[in-house]
Every structure is written in structure tokens, then in C-alpha cells.
Symmetry: C2
Subunit: 448 residues, 2 copies
């Protein structure tokens, strides 16, 4: 339960994100809100909790995940993207039971909390992630996926989607909301995109779609050629290029608006980014997934300069293989430095903003992602007493580049509730780990 | 002391690097050598040490570091390369005392051992790293640096270098050897390169040189233009381009031979790599430093295909900011996937080979970097009981991509001596950390 006492959380460093780092700082929480942020010696509260040699900051936002794939972490190494997608789809459908899939999502949620993640935006085929998130008390949104590259599938896809959304909304708690996700331009027909856009507008649903992830996708949309087109042709589905970019396709079908979260946007041109900016849509940047799958480096700095709300995402651990937003922040800096051929492309403090406030804005949360009075009491803290955390010139650099990872959080708090303390999840289901291990044994046998 | 008993080290996974992973494996050590590798149930020994749920593997090789810069970790963020180099050179000369510099190196060695690194190749201006390495019992080599872009400096530089090498050789123990490092084409005249090459051949010294790190360096050597040329011109030193690549310059001056370790080689052309391969020289790849400084992605796969011995290096933590060879291995995979636009550019097992045997070969060690009878007993082990280490399909993927870091080693052993156990350095000097903290306070004041 979230109490009504005022609790001051003290730490060696407090990083509010919306204001300068505070040495020896404190955050006072009452109920589910932050009521005060400042230096430790000035904190007034009923209870004082001293985290010690830690960095205390807003909870991390993972703006793109596929929690139900956690069990496939490390299994799909080195596969070409189309084969990767087909293999995991087949395993999800034929090998893993409904129980396996919810356990997979549960393990992912626990991993997130232990890494200081307090909000997850999850794309889900089954909806299982909603239940896993509900149980754990994490904040977030599940976008129910729909697929259908053939125009003839639209009615069925929409009927399934409506029923699925209704079922999920009935199960959602106050911290988890429901959206929809037409998967990607190479798995969704123009007609289905348009139908989802109309439905989302009518139902006031937020939308997420993978877009401009690969050159293969760009070729498919523009020219009707390449590996995606070949596979659809083999299934008897006619494909013709429209001469447009994937982002222009979303625009034409009515999806590109302020409700949309564009996932990846690696191959977004200047024109594409102008469309996104003027539409009010947001973007989630997944640097490690994009690198590991060989997709490319997204134009992150251009996105920010265009005024687009941008967050960071891990994508599924089947392509990543870590649920670690601090790691994504570091990778974002490294890849932008490479792309811009300069060491000052993106400051560590900017990367932390992407990891918190940027993600919150991209997901359309208000009063989330920063430490300030009135904001949601979503916090995380990381210990900085390892040998390598000496010396400290800048706590943002320490967190992003020296620690470089958010594992084993000292504290994870969502809406005023402490979910992780000293690297342990307080309400963990200890059986999940073993059950995921058993599911993995089935996965291994699927191939051999 | 290294005993003569046979000690079997058991672990959930053993990764010999030169042979397939062993589930439930053991490594038997006697004195400073490995005498047997196999499955746990067949291990014969006087003493059995059970590491439990760990990956046990050859000690990691950090084939390029600057230990004496550890105190500057995180201080030089975002600086342009020339300014970065000038600032650190000035701080090293004017702010840090000799005691500060050896403490800086000591902290770096401790960090290395805690990250499972058992061999370091260090480029040092002061030679302090040799003493720090001696004290800690780590294996490695210190390359004493020489600088001098002006021809008139050759005699003085060589006289200083000879004296420095003699002094270091007198202090070196059996685990640490001495080499020389003409710093880089933009800080060393052709004449000094030639003089070092002659000296190294006469004295049988191994050599390390930064080469082809940046496009600025390529322009300087080829065209005599760009930021390096401008700064030398401002100091009254005449510069003219020779039309050749930095690697060709090293070749012409006699340095490119089997004694040379080329550091970085980011901008090495196919012709450059042919020269390296036929010369028998080796390369150390520092992917994170190259990315963070905006230098580029080195042609790692081409290097391997050319048959060149390649290892991984962290470079100094002033540019990185971590001493973490598992992290470099992961970054090598990510960047090669990006460069090749494919998810299967470099397998995790190949990256682990670079991190161990590749580094050992690049540094000209024999019987180092793998687990097999007769090899040096340099080992490291990492715990794999964190939540995210479930499930395990491939222990190399687990280590490189899921853990993604080698912090807090369960075991670090050099030449049969246990130096780290359960994340703690056994003979650590507990005062170093505080002294580095105090040195950092002086560094902060230097600028403000």
C-alpha cells in the first residue's frame, strides 16, 4: 500500500533530469506523488530513508519491449531478420503454451524492475504482458498487435483486435493502459492500417507501429521488391511498390498522428522526420537492437532537433539481449558519436533525459519521467560504490558511461510503492525462473 | 605463492576457447600451468574448488590501455580529439604528482583484475604502470612512450627512451615485460620512427604505435593538412604530406614488422591490411574508444580474414570509460553487424576468442589465452545466477550479450595465483581509492 506519510529518500546524488544534479540530495514522496526535491539537509518528512552512496533518479522508461519473448533470449542469434521473425512466430505459436508465455512476460517484468525500469510500453500478440505487468505493479501500456498483409484479412483482423482490446481493457489496472499495434508495413496491408487508424481515433486508443526499421522494409514499400515482397509473393499475396517511404505510407493511411508511437525509424529521411514532427507523432529509438540486427543507426539527433518526442527502448531481449535502458542510453551516445564523427554528439545528460522524460513524453504520460513536485513517484537508484566509480566528475557520465548498465537497482519505486530494494524484487514469484528454464528446454528441442 | 598441488576448478560452464564449451566442466591447475581440462566428473586433483553457477574461461587480455590516466575517467567528455590529448597531457604534467600517477595506475590494475583481465598491454609516459602491475601480480607489458614531431628532437627522445627502458627493465618482474611506443604519426617524426625501429630491432623490444585512428591523422600524413598540421605549424614545425597512408609511413620507416602492435587501425585500407598481414604485425581493436571519440568502425572482419593477429583493448578509461573487455567484445559484435548490415557478422564465440587468445597472440604470448593442458594458468570466472541469465542456449552469447560486462569476477587467477575471489581483490591497497579521489579534486580545480 502507498501510505500518506511523507518519506524522504536521501542519496549521494539526485538527478532530477529537469534540473541540475544535486550532490547529497533528497526526494520527498507522499502517496503516489513527489512533493519536494532538494538537498538532504533541507528535506522535511515523517520518515527518512537513506540510500547512501547511490544515484537517485526518475524511474527509467522502456518505450519498446516484447515481454512475451523473454524466454527466447539468446536463441535466435545471427538469424537474418525475416528468418528471425518467422522462427520466433512459429515457436510462439507451436512450442510455447499460454502458461509459458505469461511466465516469459513475468520474467521480463522482473528483469525490468531490477534494472530500474518503472514504465514499459509493450507490443504483445497474446496480451499476456498485461497480466504480468498488473501482477508486478509496474506502470505501462500494452499495445495489442494485429497482422495481415492481405486485404482480404482486414475484417477478421479488426474483429479479433476489437475483441482483444475489450478483453484487455477489462483486465487492466489503473497503472496499465491498452493500445493497439498494427505490426509493420511488411505485415499489415494499407487497408488494415486505415481500419486501425479509424478504430483508434474512435476509441481514443494510442497506437504503436514498427516503421522504417530496415532497408528491406523501405524496398518493400517503395518498390515492391526485396525479401519481404518475395515471401509474400510465395504465399500468393500480390505486392506492388507505391513509390513512397514507410513513413509516408503511415501518413497516407491515416495512422501518422499524435496518437502514434513510431518504433525504430532507422531509415527515416529528413522529409519523413518533418512529417512525424508536424503530425505530433512520437518515436522510440532502440539502438542496440538496430545495431545487433544490422539495421543501421537511426537519425536520433535529427529527431530531437525536429522537436519530436523521443524515448529509448530495448526491443525484445530476443534481439538485444538485455532489458537495460541505461545500456541503451550509452549505446545511443556511442552510435551518434560514430554517425556524427564527433565526441560531443550527445551528452550523457541528454541520454538520461531520453531514458526518462523523453520516454514518458513519447508515451504521452504527463508528470512522469522527472523529479519535481507534483510528478508521479516513480524512482530508481543505483549504487555507485564500485571501485570503478572513482572519481566522479559528473554523475550523469558516471551512470551512462562508467556504470553503463542499470542492473541490480538499489531502489525501484512505482507510484510510491517500493518494488525493488537492494537489488531484490520484493514480491517476486520465485517459481518463474525455473518454469522459464523448462520452457527453454522445449524450445531447444523444437530445432534439434 | 603458487603451490604444486593439483587444484581442480569446477564451474557450470567451462569455455576453453580452443574447443567447445563444456557443461559442468573443470580446469585442473598445477603450479603456474593448466594440466587438464574436461568434465567435472572426470577431474582428478588434490583439491577441488567449486565455483558453482559460473562461466570459467581463460583470463581476459586487455591489449591496449593507459593505466596512468585512470584518475581522468569521465573528465574529458565531449572534447575534440586534439583538445582531449592536449588537456590530458597538460594535467598529467602540471596537476598530477608522481604519487598521483602511480595511484591512478594502481586503481586501473585493480579494476582490471576485478573485471577478469589477467594480461594488460599498457602504453605509459611515466612507466608508473609497470610498478602498479608488478605490485598486483598481473601479467603484461608496458610500452614506454616516446614523442617528438620535430626532427631536431630525435637524439633527445632516443636518449630519454633508452634510459627509460633501462630503468624499467631493472624494475620488471617475471610477469611484466618492457616494450617501446613511438606514440603516433602526428606526434612522432619519420626520423624518430626510424630510430625507434632500429633500437627495437637491436634490443629485441616489442613495439606499439597508435596508427590510422582518425581521418585527421590520415589527412595529416597524406596531405600535410587538417587540425594536426595546423597545430604543428603554429608551433613552427614544418609539415608536408607524403601522399602515403599512416600504415605505409610505418612501413617506410621500418616499424611495420612482426614486433609491432598497431593500435586502432580504424582507417586501414585493404592495401594497409595487406601490408600488416605480410609484415607479421598485429592489431588491437578498441571499439568503444573509437566509437565514443567519433573516429569510426575499424575493419575488424577484414583484419581477421587477412590472417592478422587481433586482440581487443579498452584504450584509456579517459576515453572509454570502462576497463571491461567483455563489454568491448559485445561492442565489437554490434559495430561489425552495423558495418556489414547483417546480424551474423561476428559470433559471440569469435568475440570471446578476440578477448582472450586473439589478444594473447597479438601480444606475442605463447600458451596463453585458452584453456588447454600446458597453457598458463590465467583464468577468470563470472557468476551467471542473475535473473536475466535465464535461459541459457549458448554460454558465449550469455557472457557477451546477456551479461555484456565482466564486472565483479568470481575468480581472477594469474599464473596459478588467485588475485580475485567473489568480486574482491585479495591483496588490494584500500587507500588507493581515497587517494585517487583526492587527486581528482586537484584535477577539478585545474579547470575551474
Amino acid at each position: 500500500m502507498v501510505g500518506t506519510q511523507r518519506v524522504a529518500w536521501h542519496a549521494r546524488w539526485v538527478l532530477p533530469v529537469v534540473s541540475a544534479p544535486i550532490a547529497h540530495g533528497a526526494v520527498v514522496v507522499q502517496g503516489d506523488r513527489i512533493v519536494w526535491v532538494g538537498t538532504s539537509d533541507q528535506a522535511v518528512a515523517d520518515v527518512h530513508e537513506r540510500l547512501g552512496h547511490c544515484v537517485l533518479m526518475p524511474g527509467l522508461v522502456n518505450a519498446h519491449a516484447h515481454l512475451e519473448l523473454t524466454t527466447l533470449r539468446g536463441f535466435l542469434e545471427g538469424l537474418e531478420f525475416g528468418q528471425w521473425l518467422r522462427t520466433l512466430t512459429e515457436i510462439r505459436a507451436r512450442v510455447l503454451s499460454a502458461q509459458d508465455i505469461i511466465d516469459s512476460a513475468r520474467l521480463g517484468v522482473s528483469e525490468a524492475l531490477l534494472a530500474g525500469i518503472t514504465t514499459i510500453a509493450d507490443c504483445t500478440a497474446s496480451g499476456a504482458s498485461l497480466d504480468a505487468m498488473n501482477e508486478a505493479g509496474i506502470r505501462g501500456r500494452v499495445y495489442l498487435e494485429t497482422f495481415g498483409p492481405d486485404r482480404s484479412q482486414v475484417a477478421q483482423s479488426m474483429s479479433d483486435l476489437r475483441a482483444g482490446v475489450q478483453a484487455l481493457r477489462a483486465r487492466a489496472n489503473t497503472l496499465v493502459s491498452v493500445g493497439v499495434s498494427p505490426h509493420a508495413p511488411y505485415t499489415v496491408s494499407d487497408a488494415l492500417f486505415a481500419a486501425v487508424a479509424e478504430y483508434a481515433a474512435a476509441e481514443q486508443l494510442l497506437v504503436a507501429s514498427h516503421v522504417a526499421e530496415s532497408t528491406a522494409e523501405v524496398r518493400y514499400v517503395r518498390d515492391g521488391s526485396g525479401p519481404f515482397a518475395e515471401r509474400l509473393a510465395a504465399r500468393g499475396i500480390a505486392v506492388k511498390g507505391t513509390g513512397e517511404s514507410p513513413m509516408a505510407l503511415l501518413d497516407r493511411t491515416g495512422l501518422l498522428n499524435e496518437r502514434l508511437l513510431c518504433v525504430h525509424a532507422v531509415h527515416a529521411s529528413a522529409d519523413d522526420l518533418s512529417r512525424v514532427a508536424s503530425s505530433g507523432a512520437a518515436i522510440v529509438h532502440c539502438p542496440i537492437s538496430n545495431a545487433k540486427l544490422g539495421q543501421g543507426i537511426a537519425p536520433l539527433i535529427n529527431m530531437r532537433e525536429a522537436g519530436i518526442a523521443v524515448g529509448l527502448g530495448t526491443d525484445s531481449v530476443a534481439s538485444n539481449d538485455r532489458m537495460d535502458i541505461i545500456g541503451e542510453a550509452r549505446q545511443a551516445v556511442l552510435l551518434q558519436s560514430l554517425q556524427r564523427q564527433t565526441p560531443d554528439a550527445l551528452a550523457a545528460s541528454d541520454a538520461l533525459e531520453l531514458a526518462t522524460l523523453g520516454g514518458a513524453r513519447a508515451l504521452r504520460y504527463e508528470l512522469l519521467g522527472a523529479l519535481a513536485a507534483g510528478y508521479q513517484a516513480d524512482l530508481c537508484a543505483f549504487r555507485i560504490d564500485a571501485l570503478e566509480a572513482v572519481p566522479v566528475y559528473d554523475p550523469a557520465v558516471l551512470l551512462v558511461h562508467v556504470l553503463g548498465s542499470g542492473r541490480a537497482a538499489a531502489l525501484t519505486m512505482v507510484g510510491g510503492r517500493v518494488l525493488v530494494r537492494d537489488g531484490a524484487e520484493l514480491n517476486a514469484d520465485s517459481g518463474v525462473r525455473d518454469r522459464v528454464g523448462m520452457a527453454a528446454e522445449k524450445v531447444k528441442q523444437f530445432v534439434t
